[in-house]
Amino acid sequence: AAEGSEPKKWHVVSVSSLLPSTACTAAKAASKSSALRVVHRHGPCSPLHARGDAPSHAEILERDQDRVDSIRRRIAGASAIISDADRVADSKTVSLPARWGIPLDTTNYITTVGLGTPPRNLSVEIDTGSDLSWVQCKPCARCYEQQDPLYDPAQSSTHSAVPCGSRECQKVEAQRCAADDKCRYDITYADKSHTNGTVVRDALTLAVSHALPGFVFGCGHDNDMGPYDKIDGIFGLNRGKVSLPSQVAARYGGAGFSYCLPSSPSAEGYLAFGGAAPPPNAQFTEMVNGAEPSSYYLDLVGIKVAGRELEIPPAVFAAGGTIIDTGSVISRLPPRAYAALRSAFVRSMAAYRRAPALSLLDTCYNFTGHTRVRIPSAALVFAGGTTVSLNARGLLFVSTVSQTCLGFASTGDETT
């Protein structure tokens, strides 16, 4: 591999380094005192880990596809969904309209926050693809088993309800007013998992001495997240009006935040708010607007493999835009872009045995018998020339040594 100022064309990595450790490697003391610890939901660093029953890789990928389908449905059919919801509301039925396609079902990273006064620690998923934060909440008509005791508003001295006519209630996308003047929300996800309850406010402790009074969130009284989730709730980080960054900005000014997702389930990353200086090696690209206003869009224009830019017309990427999402596991590319990436990757990996496909991942290899492997470098090129070089873990999805796959998939459709 070339070193120095030239970008690397190859990664030579130990096969064992690609596999997660079974022990948690604690992060060094964070220099950012306001930073929250971020861990993979199913790894040994997760407080949910002791419970076991993690999904298989194939199950994770199948749920990932549900999530991506739901993002596409949300973008393609938002107006139709709203019409359906309004029709139900007009009929004054008791049940609240289900909002399809709010994609929360496969977020994979969690952090711990304190909710209420005194603060109770809760393990919540972090998701840049959603807006309203929520936790399971007493009284609970139907709650799934979770890691920690349920959040109980009655035990918090700073809890209060959000009235129906309030500004906060109107900001909640999936809200409906009820006869009792309580602001209610109702979210149904792509896999039919759901949460509904009341919109409330309470103190949120992000880190020691970093409290956000009056944080608006969903108090979930009827929740079903499917067979694997033991999380206490989900925190939304997108651009919506009630997302956590928006509420932090309203309180402290500046809606910026940053995170690092750890490379392995056995390692830790962080989530930080506030105006800390970006690291000196950071490269920036423009945040652009897309069809879904609350999502974060980037202008992806090209891909490099082994230092060479693939021949993909920029218009291929531009058709649907590119969302950056912590809750999707696998990046999706337009078919022509994916085909070019796959071809270049396959050519570079000719020395290795192929392995069966893994769910939506169709390009897999068997590294059994190898202690080190040589894989091509890959980089994403954004408008303005910003080039982000992926490391080996960003190019591969490692199920087992005998089934390690190219960690990209096709959208299956050129026009969206």
């Binding site: 993002i71 596409r72 997702l261 750890p262 830790e268 945040m287 999402d325 960003g394």
Partner: protein, 31 residues
């Protein structure tokens, strides 16, 4: 829509500079 998923974001510091409408990537962000 294309998606940039979390496999490709691992180990980067991903910076959402909402005020300046830009997103940044810094290598080796978890160290």
């Amino acid at each position: 829509v294309n998606i940039l998923g979390n496999t490709q974001q691992k180990t980067f510091t991903v910076i959402y500079d909402v005020d300046k409408k830009r997103i940044g990537f810094g290598a080796k962000g978890c160290n």
